[in-house]
């Protein structure tokens, strides 16, 4: 499993764009990058997934450079409700239903009024 490294914590003011970068130097050819969000006292929930270049949905954007050794989760114009822990996961999308992924410590984002 490719190891991921991300900042332990970040602070941001409301209305700002937040970029959380995840490093995964040993990512394999078949690996996809997936981000989950966890609010306090809740289980994680899926945000976005990508393989390369850029992926965007209604919640966030995911930027992946050509070498795929890192990825950046971008949250536009954050609000207080975006305060949460964000996990970067790397795993083989084609391994079948069971997901061999590791949830690390994640990045604790604190949005400040």
């Amino acid at each position: 499993l490719a190891k991921t490294t991300q900042p332990i914590s970040m602070d941001s003011y409301e209305g700002q764009e937040v970029n959380i970068t995840c490093s995964h130097n040993n990512i394999a050819t078949n690996d996809y990058i997936t981000w989950y969000q966890q609010f306090p006292s809740q289980g994680p929930r899926f945000i976005i997934q990508g393989y390369k270049t850029k992926v965007t949905n209604e919640v966030a954007s995911l930027f992946i450079p050509a070498d795929r050794k890192s990825s950046t989760l971008s949250l536009p114009r954050v609000s207080l409700s975006d305060t949460a822990v964000y996990y970067c996961l790397v795993g083989d999308r084609n391994s079948g239903g069971y997901q061999k992924v590791t949830f690390g410590i994640g990045t604790k984002l604190q949005v400040i009024p």
Partner: protein, 114 residues
């Protein structure tokens, strides 16, 4: 759909007591997982199941047993609770059809072992 539910939400045990945590999902998912989350440790996989009647060990299986007698339920048992098992336990499931699918998590069970 209720999604993934966990019972109970909170529990306090004394060392040596036993208990069972119940996870139920109504999405007809094949795959189910039990994780524990400790402060500063992220989520760690305890056991998982790839279908009814199957179970397998994850990263930290010692001290736990699991059963998947019905497709919708995944039980986590502690035979003799220890203070080191104080944690928040999350259950998750995913469909596994068509390759990758997101995991859906339950609300968690907060367990304290005295």
């Amino acid at each position: 759909n209720a999604g993934v539910t966990q019972t109970p939400k909170f529990r306090v045990l004394k060392t040596g007591q036993s208990m069972t945590l119940l996870c139920a999902q109504d999405m007809n998912h094949e795959y189910m997982y039990w994780y524990r989350q400790d402060p500063g440790m992220g989520l760690r996989l305890i056991h998982y199941s790839v279908g009814e009647g199957t179970t397998a060990k994850g990263e930290v299986p010692d001290g736990y047993n699991v059963s998947r007698l019905k497709k919708q339920n995944f039980l986590l048992g502690l035979e003799s609770a220890a203070p080191s098992q104080t944690s928040v336990y999350f259950c998750a499931s995913n469909s596994g059809t068509g390759g990758w699918s997101e995991q859906f998590f339950g609300p968690g069970t907060r367990l304290t072992v005295l």
